[in-house]
Structures are given as structure tokens and as C-alpha cells.
Amino acid sequence: MAVGQISAGDTFREALGRLRFFARRYRGRLAAGFMALFAVDILQLAIPRVIKSAVDAIHNRSATPDDLFRFGVIIVLIAVGIGLFRLGWRYLLLGFSRLVERDLREELFKHALTLDKSVLQQRSVGEVMALSSNDLAAVQLACGMGLVAFADAVVISIAAIGFMIYINPLLTVAAVAPLPVLVLLTRLLSSRLHRHFQKVQEQFSRISEFARSSLSSVRLVKAYTQEGMQVSLFHRLGQGYIRENLRLALVQGILFPVAGLVANISLLSILYFGGRFTLAGEISMGDFVAFMSYLAMLTWPMMAFGWVANLFQRGATSMARIGELLRERPALCDNVSEAPAETGRVDRVALSALSFTYPGREIPALADISLQLSSGVCGVVGRTGSGKTTLCHLLARYYPVKNGEIFLNGVDVNQLSLAAVRGGISYVPQDVVLFSDTVAANIAMGKPDATAEEIEAAARTAVIHDEIVAMEQGYQTRIGERGVKLSGGQRQRIALARALILDRPVFILDDALSAVDMETEHAIIRSIAAYLRGKICLIVSHRLASLAEADTILVLDQGRIVARGGHDQLIRENVFYQTIYRHQTTVAAGGV
């Protein structure tokens, strides 16, 4: 991971910098919260003092029933005060951490929306998801519970030790001596605990993934009589899970009992040494009891120090990871210093010696592509990896291009605003992404104010209308996890309808009907002909049949245009074209 390149100091500095920003934004809340927290601490420390006075008074037999009742009332009143202030700090300080989480997540998302493919292709969706869930959770925990526990532990331990020293310094040393062990131990073990916990989680998701893939291809598992094999693989995964869990349990089994042990050893030394001091009359009976109460108060802050150190460390690392994404700048952005040029409705697209190499690669994906497109259909064929999709991506402005390579109506795209270029293009990519929403909303995505008639018309043109109507709720049927499951062909046709509803001058179809069966594909090609009239169309396909309407066809190979022309010309001149043509037609003709 990239974090390795940043030193720990930088990580902390960056995290602190971002935290300081939020601290300023919510300073009133933070100040009030910490005040409430300190008020709780002070009141909490007062209770043993009251108990001490009460025990001393009882021990001396000087307490009247009224006195005792008063002690009781004071204790309850203090407790109520503690309760109120505690509610206060929980609301203010834990609320602060949630506000930080909320604001950061919003910033993250809005930032991601501005990024282009050349930045995002280095990160998988899962990685960004992890930033928004795991890393934000770590940040939230650090500046919520972490901050509270830290402040609390500092105040309580200073105060409790202070009171103890006030009673008897020597006894304090004896009682507190074992506690630093606790700090070290929690520090050491809680990071280990976290690591083992993550391993358990990983194994768990491996099990889920295996079960999912096995159950979803149950037909094949059965057809290949693989039931036994699957069960034994599952058994292996399960045993790994047991192993990881036992490792985790061992750490847990050590951490918590050891904490109890250390606290009890402190108690023991108070019992023995404190007992002797009381015997010798150096401290009163009440002091002895109060000492034990203070000790009980100290155990938790000591564990907290170790735990909090890990929380802060994780929070800072996560914050740095989030910061890395926030620092990314899109390679493509509008030039703010100059007003963007205007083109009006695009009727000419020109590529001039366009070359493109993906970031981090050496071999260019496209080289020296020159092309004039005006209204009409231009087909593109070529092997996998010949640069067909890259060409579409560059036209759709997914990646930056150099000056003087792509022109719309004679204006360099780099002088136009991104929105203006994209607003002129309908692009139907190879991989379909639909959103968990109704069919209608998906089709109307680029035109939210589309009427029902427009949506239906687009669906009809994409030859999906009848299938939508056959669904239970027609156009209001939900797509996605909890909605209806669509076939690949249906998804592609909905994506097509989504593009068809827009009346944009440039239309790009990137092998977007691959999962649609032949008849339907044919019907689509016929029905979109009217829509395509007067538009600049680029159609990429593996199947020459889809290119029936093409005026020109380009053959791409290794990023270059190796041939161009009409069908007849290519049949005569291009070997590659001949091969696939012959293959597809003989197949169609049944080997005649």
C-alpha cells in the first residue's frame, strides 16, 4: 500500500492538520463537551471523598442518622449530576466524531465525482468503498471514543493519583507500581487483537464468497457431480476459520484476565501495605477504604492508555489514506483561467494524429489515428485489445488528450468545457451499470424530466418495451439486489434506451449488444436507424452484422487504423476483415 512511502510523522501531521480543521469548525461543541467531561471527572472523584467521610464518621461512632441520611442524599445528588454531564459530553463529543465522519464522507464522495478514469483506474471500487467504511470508522472511533477515553484517562488518573498521594505517598507508589504493566500490555495486545480480528473477518468473507459462488452455480456443481469436492473444500475453509478464531480467542483470553490480574495485584498491595499502615495508625480506616475506591478508578484509565494509543495510530493511518484520495486531482478539468469556447451543435468530429498511452504503460493503446466524422455511421472492428474501446473512451473524454488531437466543429476539445463535450455525446459502453431504482428512472437518468411517453419511446426503439411491460410493475419495477434480476441482454437494452432518450449529436455504441440475441439485435438495428439519421455515429462490434448500416468501417490493429473503407473494399483488401467475414457468413449459411 502507498502508505508505506509516507513516514509515521507525516501521517500524524497530516491527520492532525485535518482534525484541526474540524476542531475549528465545531469548536463551540468541543469546548462545551470537554467541560462536561471534566465536570463528570471532578464529581466522580468527589464520591470516594464523601464515602471516606461517611466511613470515618461511622467508624468513630460519631454519625447521627441525620448525618448518614445527608451522606446518602449527597451521594445521590452527585450521581445525578454525573449522569447529566455524562449525557452532555456523550452528545457533544461523540456527536462531534459523527459530524467529522459525515463531513469527510460527503467530501470524499463529492471529490470522487470529479475524478476521471486516469486517476480512478488505479483504485478499485472496493478500495474507495473501504475508505468510506473501514477507514472512516477508524477515524470516527479515534476522534470519538478515542479522544474521550484519552481526556478522561488523563484527568482521572492525575486526580486519583493526586488524591492517593495526598493520603499517603508511599502507599500510592506501592499501589500504582503494577499499573504501567497494564498500559504496556494493552498497547501490545490490542494491536494484535485487531490484527487477528481482521484475519478472522477475512476468512469469514472467504467462506461467504465460496458458499455464494458454489450455490449460485449449483447446476454445474451437480452436473459435474462435484458435491463431495465442494463440501471438502468448504470444510478446509471452515477449519481455517476455526484456527483464526482460536488465535483471536487466545489473545482475548490473555488480555482481559491479565488486566484483571494486574488490577488485583494492586488491590493486594493496598490490602497488605495499606492494612499495615492502618494498623500503625498512619492512615485512617476511611483513608484505607477511599484508597481502594481510587484504585478501582485507576484500572480503566490505565487500560485506556494502551487502547487509545492504538486507536489514534489506526485513526491517523486511515486519515492519511483518505487524505491521499482527497489530494488526487483529476487529470481532466476545465481551464478556469480562460472562458471555454463555444461550438454550438456538433456536426463534425475530427481526430488528428491521435495517440494515447495508458498511464504506467509503455506501448501506446492508440497511435496516429486521423479521422473525420460527420453525420452517418462509422463502424469499428478489430481484435480484442486493438484499441476500439480506448477510442470510444477518448471521444467521451474519460482520459485527457493532448492539444490538437480531437476537434469538435474545428474547436480543440481542450478548449471546451467538459460538460459541453460530454453533453454532446451519448455513449453506450460495453459493461452496463444500472442503478438500484425503477426501470423508468434508469432510462430517464440523463433526462430526469422526461415524460412517460419519451421513456416508452426510447424503450421501444431499444426493443425492450414489451419485456418491461411484462414485468409485474412495468416501468415502475425496481432493478437491483432486491428488485428484479435482468438478463445480460435486457440490461444492455435498458442501457441503450438510456442513451436513446437523449437527443445528442454524437452517438457511440461500444460492442453494447453482445449479450442480445441475433433476432433482437437485428430488430434494434432496424429500429434505431431513424434515430441515427443526421447524427455522428460510431459503432464498435465483433459482429459484422451490426455494422450493416455503416458508411465506412475502420479496422483497428494494435492501436492503428490498418484499413478503412466500405464493406466491399475491405472484403477485397483486408485479410483480417475477410477472415471474420467469411467465418461469420459461412456459419450463418450453415456451411454451404
Binding site: I47, I51, V55, I58, H59, R61, T64, P65, L68, F71, V76, I82, G83, R86, Y91, R102, E106, A112, L113, L120, V125, S132, F204, A211, S213, S214, L215, V218, L220, T225, E227, V231, F234, Y241, Q252, G253, F256, P257, L261, Y272, G275, T278, L279, M292, L418, V433, F435, S436, G488, S514, A515, D517, E519, A545, H583, T585, A589, G590, G591, V592
Partner: protein, 606 residues
């Protein structure tokens, strides 16, 4: 947007006292009776030491520290002895704790592992109609999260609940024994605290559920928008997406604030109640001491015991809800275990020695839903070694033929014969290993390429090489970093769609079935891979009965016979030329392809 993304069901409440469920759970625990008994014993030890420690403190105070009757040396000596005991008990407690945690985890994990294995095995044995009714996501939740819920109950509740019970009863007994009047006064607080925690538990559960659903909603929108980022940008919907995300994010935020407020009210309330108990002890106990009816040591012990007493009460509601959700999970799991496959197996299934590969459908009627037959009175005979292609529009019943041949489903009426033996009389595994099925999707085990081809079969190295050559897969293997030992699937090297298809053909060759079924892939395989596939197919089909479901008419030229299926009936059959002459549906399907080329190149086709 009222959708619970990713959550298939919410806890419907099962009675925690459901005896039949407990009996079945205990059935899984019984083999581990000894470690469980050990854990219970250890928890008794832990409870006992927890109770003894405050008592030792009170002895130290009353007998030695404040006892003016003894000489100072004796008092110090006595104190030392108590301290030694104290030390012994804390060491004992430590080890008991450590062993108990590990022991419980070990047992719990093994019990749940067995349950998970049984469930998984059971699921794989269920038939296709079952999978047709139940979405995979739901089944996976059973195998993973539901089992996890039960495990949670097992390790963190059952034994500790027992532990807590012993502790509460033990403390109460000691308190009554030390001073029954004061103990009685404390008992008045118990119902208040219990009511408080149960009420809180209910509210907390609701809030947690809300948080979970709103987070799931947020995450699924995030995932969607990130995978569709280019589409959002291209359609200029950035503002819209940001607004939607902000709304979801704020929804989640307000739920977390609700949780903070709820905890902020209830947690301190419990503290206040516990402090009220302390105040009562001081007020009443102090009076008792002044009246000389109680010693100061007892008062100190009372204060310590009370802390121990309230702790389990505070966690009670949390534990109760764990048990409740575990019982709901247990019910769902056992319900699933009780579902039986609908396919009847023969009493003594046949496993014929030889099989020629002849297949016959006789008056078969079948539908996935009652009253909506896909095939009706369908008859078809395929000779051994014959290659038959089936074409027809989507929904004509082509895939149903596969489902019946593989015996994923049984016909409603009529019979299917393999070499004159009715399919229902044959052993299911025997039948399926005589059929090779190649479909559009290929299942990949997370293992090496070799294992993925062999699928548990043994084969010599040279014949494996031969298989690779014949399946046109050798070239692919050569291109992989570790050849046959390259790991593929989850976490390994990814194969392209075409490469996976070639792998599937290699599998068929290893298994050498008499009957081959090709459910022709419609995925976009580029032309070159398609040619490789066709060469491989030629080898694979040689000498076998082959049934090709052609969605795309491309493999048809190899067929001895072409069947045109429409609405569950064979409307035409014959070879290509015969069918073309017939001028029917087949001709129409063919012409579609033809005219396209005519549109471009009138002189193009031959």
C-alpha cells in the same frame, strides 16, 4: 427509496423458550459434553473467586486491621496470611479465565463448524426447484451470518448466563447472610434496574437495526455510483448524485445521533441507580453499625459486592437480545435442514455397465409453474453418436431440455430414456457423470488450473497433455505464469470468458462422457477465440451423442439434424438444406442474418 438493501429478513421473533429448537441445538453440543462441562466448572471457579476476594478484604479489616484485641505482630502476621490467600485466588482466577475463554471458543467453533458443514452439504443435495424458489443470497446468509449468530450466543451467552445466575444468587445469599435487612432493602432496586435495562434493550435494538439498514443503503448507493462513475459524469448527473448521497449520509448520521442520545440517557441512568444503592448502604448500613448491629468490614464488603451484583444486571438485556436473534437464526437454519429434495430416487438405482448414448423423450410434459407447461407432450429420439442442434426463439423450451436430461427436474408426465432405461430408475450421480455439460458460465474452483480440469479425477500426465491439446487449451496454459499450477478463481489469475470455455471443454474430455450437451455461449467471445473454440468442439464432439442448444445458429453446420423449437413443440426438423427449402421459421431466422449482408454487399454471399 424505502428499501433494505442487502437485508433479506428482519428478526422475526421466536420464543426463546422454544424447546424443540433447544433440543436440536443440544444435539450438536452433546459430542462436546466434556469440554462444555469443563467450561461450566471453570466458570463456577471464576465466580467463586470473584466472590471470595471482597470477603477476604472484609476479614482482613475486621479480624486484623481494626481488631484492637490482638497484639500488633499477630495482626500483621494475620494480614500477611490473608494477603497470601488473596494472591492465590487471583492467580487461580487468572488461569481459570484464560482456560475458559479458549475452551469455550474451541467448543463453540467446532459445534458451529459441524452445523455449517451439515447445512452446506444439505443445500448441495437439494434439487433445482428448491434453488429456483430460494435466492442464493438468502442461502448464503444462512450458512454464514445465521451460524455466526448462534456462535455468538454459544460463546458469549450460554455459559456466562449460567455464570451470572450463579453469581447473582451467590451474592444475594452472602448479602442476606451478612445482613438480611440491608439485603432486603437492596432487593427493592432489582426490579427497577431490570425494567430499565429491558426497556433500554428494546430501544437499542431498534436503533441498531435502523443504523444497519441506513448504512447498508448508503454503502450500496456508494458502490453503485462508484462503479457507474463514468456514466454519471457522461450524463452530467454529478449534482444529482451528490444530493442523493448527502441525503443518505445525513439519514445515517441522524440515526447515529439517535443512538448516542439513547445511550447517553440510559447508561448514566444505570449508574445513578447503582449509586442510589451505595447511598442506601451508607445510610442504612451506617445506622446499623452505629447501633452496633453490623461491623465496618461488612459495610466495605457490601459496597464491593454491590458492584459485582449490578454488572450482570446491566448486561442482561444485551444478552437476552443475543439469545433472541440466535434463536431466530436457529429456527431458520433448522427449517432449511428440514426441507427435502422433491426428486424421488429409485429404491435400488441402476448403474448400467455400458451406455451407448441413445436418448429418448416420450410424451414429456413439464412446466416450472403449475398450469404453465413449457413442454407439452414432447417426444424426441436421438440415436447414439448423433449430433442434434436445437434452435428457436427465447423461451421456446431449449434450456428446459437440458434441465430434464440432467435430471435437475423430473417431467410431470411422460418419461425420458437413456438406452431404454427410464431416467428415474438410474442412479443420479451415475447419470450425471455420463453427461458432459458446457454452459455459458463456467464454475471455477479457487484452486490450480490442473485441479480445475481434473475435478478430482486421476489421469496420467501424457493423457492430460493430450486433453489440453485437443481442447485447444494448451496455448492458454503456456501463457499462464505457473502453467498448470497457476491458481485461478477467487484471489488468483483471472481467465477470460473464452479461456474459461476452453477449460470447460478440457473438463469434458477428462471425464469422457457419452453424451455432450452444449448450451451455446452467447457472451461476446472475440472471433479468434471463437475459432479456437470451434476447433476444440470438433474434437470433443467426435464419437459422442451431442445436443447443441444454439442461441446463435453458429454451431449448426456440424449437426446431423436440426430441430426448430417453438413454444415447447418441434415445428420443423431436418438438415440445413431441407429446412431452407421448407421456407418456415428456420428459413426466416437464417434470412435475418443473410439480408443484413445483402444490405452491405449484395454480391457478398455465396
Amino acid at each position: 427509496m424505502r428499501h433494505d438493501y442487502g437485508y433479506f429478513e428482519e428478526d422475526h421473533l421466536v420464543s426463546v423458550g422454544e424447546l424443540s429448537l433447544w433440543r436440536r441445538i443440544l444435539g450438536y453440543v452433546r459430542p462436546h459434553a466434556t469440554p462444555v462441562a469443563g467450561a461450566v466448572f471453570l466458570s463456577l471457579v471464576i465466580t467463586a473467586t470473584g466472590l471470595v476476594l471482597p470477603y477476604l478484604v472484609s476479614i482482613a479489616i475486621d479480624r486484623y486491621i481494626v481488631n484492637q484485641d490482638l497484639g500488633i505482630d499477630l495482626r500483621i502476621h494475620g494480614l500477611g496470611r490473608v494477603a497470601l490467600f488473596f494472591f492465590g485466588f487471583i492467580v487461580l482466577e487468572f488461569f481459570a479465565n484464560l482456560f475458559q475463554v479458549v475452551l469455550l471458543e474451541w467448543t463453540g467453533q467446532h459445534v458451529m463448524h459441524r452445523l455449517r458443514q451439515d447445512l452446506f452439504r444439505h443445500l448441495l443435495d437439494l434439487d433445482l426447484p428448491f434453488f429456483h424458489r430460494n435466492p442464493v443470497g438468502k442461502l448464503v446468509t444462512r450458512v454464514t451470518n445465521d451460524i455466526q449468530n448462534m456462535h455468538e450466543m454459544f460463546t458469549s451467552v450460554i455459559v456466562t448466563l449460567f455464570n451470572d445466575l450463579v453469581r447473582v444468587v451467590g451474592i444475594l445469599a452472602i448479602l442476606f447472610w451478612m445482613n438480611w435487612r440491608m439485603a432486603l432493602i437492596l432487593c427493592l432496586l432489582v426490579p427497577v434496574i431490570a425494567a430499565n435495562t429491558i426497556w433500554f434493550g428494546r430501544l437499542a435494538r431498534n436503533v441498531f437495526r435502523e443504523i444497519r439498514t441506513s448504512l447498508a443503503r448508503l454503502n450500496s448507493y456508494l458502490q453503485e455510483s462508484l462503479s457507474g462513475l463514468e456514466i454519471i459524469q457522461l450524463y452530467l448527473r454529478e449534482k444529482d448524485a451528490a444530493e442523493r448521497f448527502t441525503a443518505l449520509n445525513r439519514g445515517y448520521f441522524s440515526q447515529t445521533i439517535r443512538q448516542i442520545t439513547l445511550f447517553g440517557i440510559f447508561m448514566p441512568l444505570l449508574e445513578v441507580l447503582a449509586t442510589v444503592a451505595v447511598a442506601l448502604v451508607i445510610w442504612y448500613g451506617g445506622g446499623e453499625i452505629v447501633r452496633n448491629r453490623m461491623s465496618i468490614g461488612v459495610l466495605v464488603a457490601f459496597l464491593s459486592y454491590m458492584r459485582l451484583f449490578f454488572q450482570p444486571l446491566r448486561e442482561l438485556s444485551q444478552k437476552y437480545s443475543i439469545v433472541q436473534s440466535a434463536m431466530a437464526s436457529a429456527e431458520r437454519i433448522f427449517q432449511l435442514m428440514d426441507s427435502r429434495p422433491g426428486l424421488k430416487s429409485a429404491a435400488s438405482p441402476l448403474r448400467p455397465e455400458t451406455v451407448s448414448g441413445a436418448v429418448r423423450f416420450q410424451n414429456v410434459t413439464f412446466g416450472y409453474e403449475p398450469g404453465r407447461p413449457v413442454l407439452e407432450d414432447f417426444s424426441l429420439a436421438i440415436a447414439a453418436g448423433e449430433t442434434v442442434a436445437v434452435v428457436g426463439p427465447t423461451g421456446a423450451g431449449k434450456s428446459t431440455l437440458i434441465n430434464l436430461l440432467e435430471r435437475f427436474y423430473d417431467p410431470e408426465q411422460g418419461e425420458i430414456f437413456f438406452d431404454d432405461t427410464e431416467s428415474r430408475r438410474l442412479d443420479l450421480f451415475w447419470l450425471r457423470s455420463r453427461i458432459g455439460l458446457v454452459m455459458q458460465d463456467v464454475f471455477i474452483l479457487p484452486d490450480t488450473v490442473r485441479e480445475n480440469i481434473l475435478l478430482g479425477r486421476e489421469i496420467s500426465g501424457t493423457s492430460l497433455d493430450e486433453v489440453l491439446e485437443q481442447a485447444q487449451f494448451a496455448g492458454v496454459v503456456r501463457g499462464l505464469p505457473q502453467g498448470l499450477d497457476t491458481r485461478i478463481g477467487e484471489g488468483g489469475t483471472a481467465l477470460s470468458a473464452g479461456q474459461r470455455q476452453l477449460l470447460a471443454l478440457a473438463r469434458v474430455l477428462v471425464r469422457d462422457p457419452r453424451i455432450l450437451i452444449l448450451d451455446e455461449a452467447t457472451s461476446s467471445v472475440d472471433t479468434e477465440t471463437e475459432m479456437l473454440l470451434e476447433t476444440a468442439l470438433e474434437r470433443v464432439m467426435a464419437g459422442r451423442t451431442s445436443i447443441i442448444i444454439a442461441h446463435r445458429l453458429s454451431t449448426i453446420r456440424r449437426a446431423d439434424r436440426i430441430l426448430v423449437l417453438q413454444k415447447g413443440k418441434i415445428v420443423e426438423q431436418g438438415d440445413h438444406l431441407e429446412l431452407m427449402r421448407k421456407n418456415g421459421l428456420y428459413r426466416r431466422l437464417q434470412d435475418l442474418q443473410h439480408t443484413e449482408y445483402h444490405g452491405v454487399a449484395p454480391e457478398g454471399t455465396g
